[in-house]
Assembly symmetry: C2
Homo-oligomer: 207 residues x 2
């Protein structure tokens, strides 16, 4: 039943009991990998740790994934794709430029709050892959970047800001969150979103 080397691409909608078991295991491994990578870093984490957390034998991992890199690849590809897709979904119904910028920020923060480990691994291990894996993840990242950039550009319209610079500053605020966010202290995600939106739109001068 083992399929493609790229787990995202599910071959057939084979909904046998076996297939469902397979997918369940695969997801549980990815969840374990996400937790371990987030805690130890990709290089510092061992496949043995992932196996232990997923309650599977070490070699069992290699039945589902061809190597350690592919674990990170699957994680990053899936998470960045989700980030991009959910944002596209939100933007589809919005026309007002400020609403769209708000959607960008809320989408990022809400997805982060719901998948802290995933987002942290994505943001912190940007350079841990290489070759084909790296390039494919980079493609998705670029798609997401372009989408965010287009929303920023729409808000900038006519003003003398460098679009990429403005986008990257926003990116920084969004991505840095994993280093300080505390689920207890910063429970209210909407407050974070509003705070950033206000500052980014109007600056810290306005109240």
């Amino acid at each position: 039943m083992k399929q493609n080397s790229i787990p995202e691409v599910i071959t057939k909608n084979d909904s046998t009991k076996r297939h469902r078991q397979y997918e369940k295991r695969l997801r549980s491994i990815l969840r374990a990998a996400s937790q371990v990578f987030a805690k130890e870093g990709f290089e510092g984490a061992s496949v043995r740790d992932v196996a232990a957390k997923a309650k599977i034998n070490l070699s069992g991992i290699y039945y589902y994934f061809t190597n350690k890199d592919e674990l990170l690849y699957a994680l990053q590809h899936h998470t960045f794709s989700t980030l991009h897709e959910t944002l596209e979904g939100r933007l589809a119904t919005l026309r007002d430029s400020e609403d769209r910028l708000k959607a960008v920020i809320e989408n990022h923060f809400e997805l982060f709050a719901g998948n802290m480990d995933d987002l942290k691994v994505c943001v912190h291990e940007l350079e841990s892959l290489s070759g084909k894996y790296y390039r494919e993840v980079l493609d998705v990242r670029r798609k997401y970047y372009r989408l965010v950039r287009s929303v920023v550009a729409q808000n900038l319209d006519g003003r003398s800001h460098d679009v990429d610079l403005a986008t990257l500053f926003l990116y920084g605020s969004l991505n840095w969150v994993y280093t300080w966010y505390d689920a207890d202290k910063n429970a209210d995600i909407r407050k974070l979103s509003d705070g950033l939106l206000k500052i980014y739109m109007n600056g810290i001068r306005t109240s």
Copy 2:
């Protein structure tokens, strides 16, 4: 001649030839470590790589540093201290709140441009140390954070922003720079500083 286990704290101003040689070697090792850690990540980098880049024997490293962690500690402690000290120096003569905020941003970006590897290692390996090493670096980071925070607070004065949130968003923009900065493309550091200052102060709405 080997001194304290914490290289920052130079014991005596022993200016013998030997001592000067010792310090030179020590700095060359730190520079090598900075380059290797920036490229491979702290966990991914090997002490052998650092030794090779510093053109010293592997065991030579252990004459100057007690272990690999101490290399990172020395690097981070020194760089964060510098960041803090240079900012304090700049702020000493400035009273206007916007000027002071500008100093924060310029200080960070200029120091980054001049020591890309150091800053990257500092920002990217925030969690790679533990125990005493971690705590001591954290102390310096906190000092720097408080200083930046106080400048932000001064600019916020009376307005309904959360001071920590506002500081952390600024932090994000500042620290994220290592992921995208290209010395050729973004040669003009002052342009970066001005761009961020404008956005952070006035938002993207104003031209």
